[in-house]
Subunit: 288 residues, 4 copies
């Protein structure tokens, strides 16, 4: 008989029926903000982590997988992203990946929850790595939907939607609707690209289909891909909508060239031409 | 299918094989002190709680059961406890119960972990209820064993040992030995009484027997009793050693009279003459 | 880091928020009967166990606590129980305890779920210990409520209601109503005694109060008591209704004498005069 | 507050620190064989499942992902697999996938644990789909290592190693050594191909590297790939060793042509030319 290790755990659903339990080594901060319950914790195996409403958002160990897979396919799909908008992404890692592209002149990050952003700024430097202080970065605390509605047409080349799951919380639901994507379309420049994380197509196929369809109602080119994120326990899906290039049309060489020209070489842990090609080739998993 | 509630839980062993999981509503404080990991949390059902090294010590909802059962049988057994020593009991509730006896002129509380005491002082007023500020109370941060060894013979009428379990952590192991009880005996006054919590006689019979035997090696009168503590998931055992009166010899009326004369009437949630009698009558539970 | 032991566990609520997990060493049988899901399992620490709808009913290690506490106070309260009715109690242990009283000439056990009884007969001999084969025992598979309604007035001296909790399943809810207790009253002989298990007065005070009140509406003498059952993780409550003697009026000596005259001496692991007295003295625990 | 669903769960490690809990709807069979504890259960969401020593091996819902990813890349890599050996794979699904290739004239499945195979034959028809009855299939109950050592040189075109993880149990450890792979090499025909599942390269990098290196010590061409298996909670890795063609050199069209010529069209839920290409392109995930 093994005596179970006593102490704190984060328990979170992986699917409608399964749950994952992760032992907590240390609680760094616990805040109930206006919008959600935010915890910064150190996990035994995954290191520093941000947990919102009980769902792990990012961990020191594996956030590179999620954030590189979220940001770079869309950024590379645009020929020359200069103005980029990040909605959500409180931990600053999405911003960090965006800023790695030397074409970027301005990266606006809009997050509804200023308390979460402050929490991450203070405690998760290992994750944001100073991205908030980049002179090209601008942080706006407001509802992403409002921000986009108030933005000028064509204001951004790439928009990255780094939101909580459409099924796990109420906070972000409206940012997955067709109506919202129409606003996004308007605010994107002529050959603009949007990407959103989209939860699990396998476990929550209905919601995923609804999101996918909403993007398809608005964008001429839509691609989907997924990658397993260890601390989530599942493969996370992403959907790209493009007004210009087709991300699936980029060759391995196209991507590798862009990695060089954008100054990304040596700064990536996962993303590459091969990874881009594999993500575009691999069908997303569905319940049969 | 029920989606499990995502978020923080405290998981702790109830026995060598079973474990209990308690959902956390809020983390108030998390400290790794010199001696242990201390968490002040709000539980869904049990309210504010102190958790040391992953083991729940006290919760707002049910700490009265543990603390009244720990303190009053020993206090009532002594004819007139004036000087009382509490070892451990960082949350201040043992001290609080001791101070309810109007015979008490001085109550010294010795805890090895000043950081835990500070944590409780600040965050668990609902539990200590100001006991630390009572003019009769004196707090000493030092090893209880050292304190007792340095105390004069006969210095205390009652000693209450409110320690972590002898099997769940290393911190307190030495305070369950026969050698330690000999020091306790010396420091108690002529008709002095000691009580210690002693974990679970059912699940950890070997360790419990060792502790019980150690008390019996030193004290002429030894009684054992137990009461279920909801947030522990098990019946907690207590052992009284007495140089004077036998706690099992007190009648319901004796106890009720003392409750009046000591000014306890109206201040107790559990303890009474009937409870005292029942605790003394009921054999502690053992694996057959 | 400890790798958690992989395999099967029984998870069950201890309260509205806490749950207990118990590792399973072996599944002996799994049956979905007409009424419930029944599992016979071997637990790591508790041995052979019956689990109904996910709730542990009895384990080899500690069932003596529950069954002796359920049966003997009521049986001893009656001056000479000859005809006894057990409702529920599929594992045969309640029947076993009833049959230990040499006054008993007939013990009828009525259980609604014949499949569960068969399961226990075959796999839980270590628990029923042959009680079903006692010539004084008679097993009836039918709804306990119907059986009682169809029984003659005054047919039984003692009725033992060994049912699933009033709050954990629908199966038994009707057997906790005042209407049902009126039927029980009618079927009891002149100085008849009924006892029912009643779940947790601490965690489910509302339901418990409803049950207690229902018994009080019907019986002139009502007593309540509780005892911690290790495999439940909580103190289980019992309520006695009596038309004759008051169980709380029996002295330790009364009980000890009956233990001798009934032939119980040497056959009990827990129950005694002291235990009876303690159970009657100790108030049941409630949330403050 | 949500009352957690009471009942049986399978808890299993996903990594060294995290664990996943899956609710069990029904236990179909529980056997402690000579080699391991085998459970056939119905999961709430995943359907019928085989669990060995507490680790989920296959579930009705998602076994196609694991088994198609295990079998087809290796089978397609060989120009014309006629004689195929499966080692392990008690549930018969690996055999099922192998037999889908119309080139196969004989498929030998060697499993050490005849009781597990019998269990699967009887209870998991939904998984094996009759593969054991295919006239080309032959089942041998013996140690895979011994079988291979006693086989003639060049006896098989493809060998599929469908074993329990190298780190989760002792049963299979020897079938991941360089010595074993040398035997495999000898038994493979001139352009033979071997594939083994290899657990998680992310969570158990050390063991994975050891296995990968062992294959590389023996085979001239070695490729690795991985795919997320929902019921495992992680991406499962596979390693191919080839004496002939390089699986990474096959184009999408090559694979699609083979799917047609082998009679696989319409019989696959996941595998395709795109999937093959994606698996070969995507680097396996490692802790940074």
């Amino acid at each position: 008989m093994t005596e179970p290790k006593p102490g704190l755990y984060v328990e979170e659903p992986v699917s409608k029926s399964t749950r994952m339990a992760t032992p907590v080594k240390r609680i760094i901060a616990f805040v109930r903000t206006k919008y959600q319950e935010a915890v910064v914790a150190e996990f035994e195996e995954f290191g520093l982590s941000l947990i919102l409403d009980g769902y792990t958002q990012s961990t020191e160990l594996d956030e590179f997988i999620y954030h590189e897979a979220l940001v770079h396919p869309a950024m590379i799909t645009h020929e020359r992203p200069e103005r980029v908008l990040v909605v959500g992404g409180g931990e600053g890692a999405t911003l960090r990946e965006v800023l790695k592209h030397n074409t970027v002149r301005e990266a606006v990050m809009v997050d509804i929850d200023g308390e979460v952003v402050e929490l991450c700024k203070r405690h998760l430097a290992v994750i944001h790595q100073g991205s908030f202080s980049d002179p090209r970065a601008r942080l706006v605390i407001m509802d992403g939907k409002d921000y986009i509605e108030k933005s000028e047409s064509g204001a951004f080349d790439v928009i990255v939607l780094d939101l909580t799951d459409p099924y796990s919380s109420e906070v972000a639901r409206e940012l997955y609707t067709a109506e919202f994507y129409r606003s996004v379309y308007r605010v994107l420049s002529e050959r603009g690209v949007v990407v959103t994380q989209a939860g699990s197509s396998f476990f929550y196929g209905d919601v995923y289909d609804w999101v996918l369809n909403n993007v398809k109602l608005v964008f001429p080119i839509v691609r989907e891909y997924s990658i397993w994120v260890p601390s989530f326990g599942y493969a996370c899906n992403f959907i790209v909508g493009s007004k210009g290039r087709d991300p699936a049309a980029l060759s391995i060489e196209d991507v590798e060239k862009a990695i060089d020209s954008r100054g990304l070489r040596g700064k990536l842990k996962l993303y590459s031409g091969r990874v881009h090609a594999a993500l575009m080739l691999m069908p997303v998993l569905r319940k049969p």
